[in-house]
Symmetry: C2
Subunit: 350 residues, 2 copies
């Protein structure tokens, strides 16, 4: 139903990182092949592929693709190319930790053999294993989280933490899919998610393909639907979770969490444990990417004319951090962590 | 500097309600003449002119224009035309009370004389008096409210409660102008205000024309800038205020108020007393207009392609109601009302 987010493909002339270009959704379903390091980096930077787990899978495949296409004759040449690829991929986006986690898994293999051919195979296998593993984690997240959405309930989500943000199934949308599989009766409020409209463009597209009832609202309407008593719980994804449970996610997530608290609505984060950065004691330390103001003024590229006057000053942080105290639970593949998170997240890891 | 929002103009063939077409700002400054009832109604419905006080002025001028252009020979014919005009104008938008207030002022004149010529003059005079009066009220709102914005402070506003929403100067932006005139040192966070982007398109345009420093953010970034300690107060306008202080304003205002409360930031509403509906005991009774979903999916008309999949369900309420307990003060031309509002608003009226 939903095309694969990112896929390892063997073309005649070498491997490709194949993906659906998410910047064109929902108007066009274009499949692109990334066959150079520059193409993979550009695809991540420009959000052709996005979502913390999907970025990790893409970066892993990117390293494997570089190895597979490398003309390096010696292991030293190949390792040098892979180090350069690692650094370029690591520099694409600063906030999501899965990128660094996946790159670390790939880099750990670089010294595992001195045979270039064996290394190429090992990297290709690892990239595909990371992807298979991610899909499996998402399915378990979905099963573990299904209970938080009551039958007949209304759930609000922000951005896209769906099949398109992962190897498939999704994290927040995995939970929604898990609940829908269980009782078949729920409705999703989809925040459009400015500036890049991942909710309006991607989440509604995914949910409609799966026949899950949903309604798109502008981000600033979430408070109104909550006040009307039409939201039973919120479920969002995460790009990086600190050891104490503070969670960085798409800009606007924090506002949803504050509104949920004000209305007594439980607010959940769904993410694989690879999203938890156990090195960070608090969300204050998570680096927050700033995006090009044109994404705001030109409406994610949908508009040809600017919404703002020429010369207007625009501030566009890509993420915000929701403090752990606003989070009712963090839904992982190993179970639901509850406060205090420093203990519960550490326990799930073990 | 800023073209007049709405203006009474005598053309060779009869009067016109002249306005700047706000749907085209900031990319084009087109002045339009409305010379039929249909044109005035369409301009209000499609938000060529918008903002509660400006709608009131436009509707008053619309009635005067109909009278001035009427070929009615008898007072009965003229009164029938004016009753029809009143009803058509009253049906344009349901939430802003200034519309009904202005129409009531105009209708009160219809039986004041049996001379069609005298009635035409009286209506034209009254429409212009309403407009002059509105500008004067805005200036007093600005003076009264200037104190709430500290020198060097950051103020956040939502939508456009500016010169373009009134006969000039503005209500919320009147307060900002008042503070800027007083100490010349402040910065404004401008919520873009989806779906129709009145903040991005209109408020930033106005403020930049006046040399007032401002930064546009997406609505969902307000929480992040508040959390960063970069907002000292919020000031917004209102479309209708109940006797108890509950205030209907552009969708998203309620969310800003909840975020402000969470961060301990004072949240003010600025509006003339004509915005207070003393007949309504609570904001629960304020009718909330729903808008065309295309305004959401086609990005206020800026996009040629839809942001949402074909067939997506979209909910788009135009306003929300902020309960009085979230409001630090209601800034009017007669002074700042403080809680309890039932008493303070009644006192200001008297």
């Amino acid at each position: 139903m939903i095309p694969k987010t990112v896929e390892w493909v063997q073309l005649a002339e070498g491997p490709s990182v194949r993906m659906i270009d998410q910047t064109l959704l929902p108007n066009e379903e274009r499949i692109i092949d990334c066959v150079t390091l520059e193409q993979v980096c550009e695809a991540i930077k420009s959000l052709r592929v996005r979502g913390a787990p999907a970025i990790g899978c893409s970066a892993a495949m990117g390293m494997a693709m570089i190895a597979g296409r490398s003309s390096a004759q010696t292991i030293d040449e190949l390792r040098a190319e892979l180090r350069a690829a690692h650094d370029a991929l690591a520099a694409t986006r600063p906030t999501a930790v899965n990128l660094f986690w996946a790159l670390a898994r790939m880099s750990a293999l670089v010294d595992s053999t001195d045979d270039p051919r064996e290394l190429r195979v090992a990297l290709a296998d690892e990239a595909q294993a990371i992807t298979v593993d991610d899909l499996d984690r998402c399915r378990r997240i979905g099963k573990n989280g299904a209970e938080v959405i009551p039958e007949g309930g209304n759930v609000l989500t922000h951005c896209n933490a769906g099949a398109l943000a992962t190897a498939g199934h999704g994290t927040a949308l995995g939970v929604i899919r898990g609940a829908f599989e269980r009782h078949g009766d729920l409705h999703v409020w989809v925040d459009e998610t400015r500036p890049l409209l991942q909710g309006a463009r991607l989440t509604s597209w995914e949910l409609m393909r799966d026949g899950i009832p949903c309604t798109v609202i502008c981000d600033n309407m979430a408070g109104s639907v909550m006040k009307q008593g039409k939201v039973d719980c919120c479920v969002v994804g995460a790009d990086r979770i600190a050891a104490n449970g503070d969670a960085a996610n798409k800009i606007g997530t924090y506002g949803v969490a504050v509104l949920a608290k004000h209305h007594g609505i439980p607010f959940y984060v769904a993410a694989p444990l690879s999203t938890v950065d156990y090195e960070l004691m608090s969300g204050e330390q998570i680096p927050i990417e700033e995006r090009d103001p044109k994404e705001v003024s030109y409406m994610a590229g949908l508009a040809e004319r600017s919404a703002t006057p020429a010369g207007a000053h625009i501030y566009s942080p890509a993420f915000d951090v929701t403090p752990a105290e606003l989070i009712a639970g963090i839904i992982t593949e190993a179970g639901i962590a509850r406060a205090p998170y420093t203990e519960s997240l550490a326990a799930l890891r073990g």
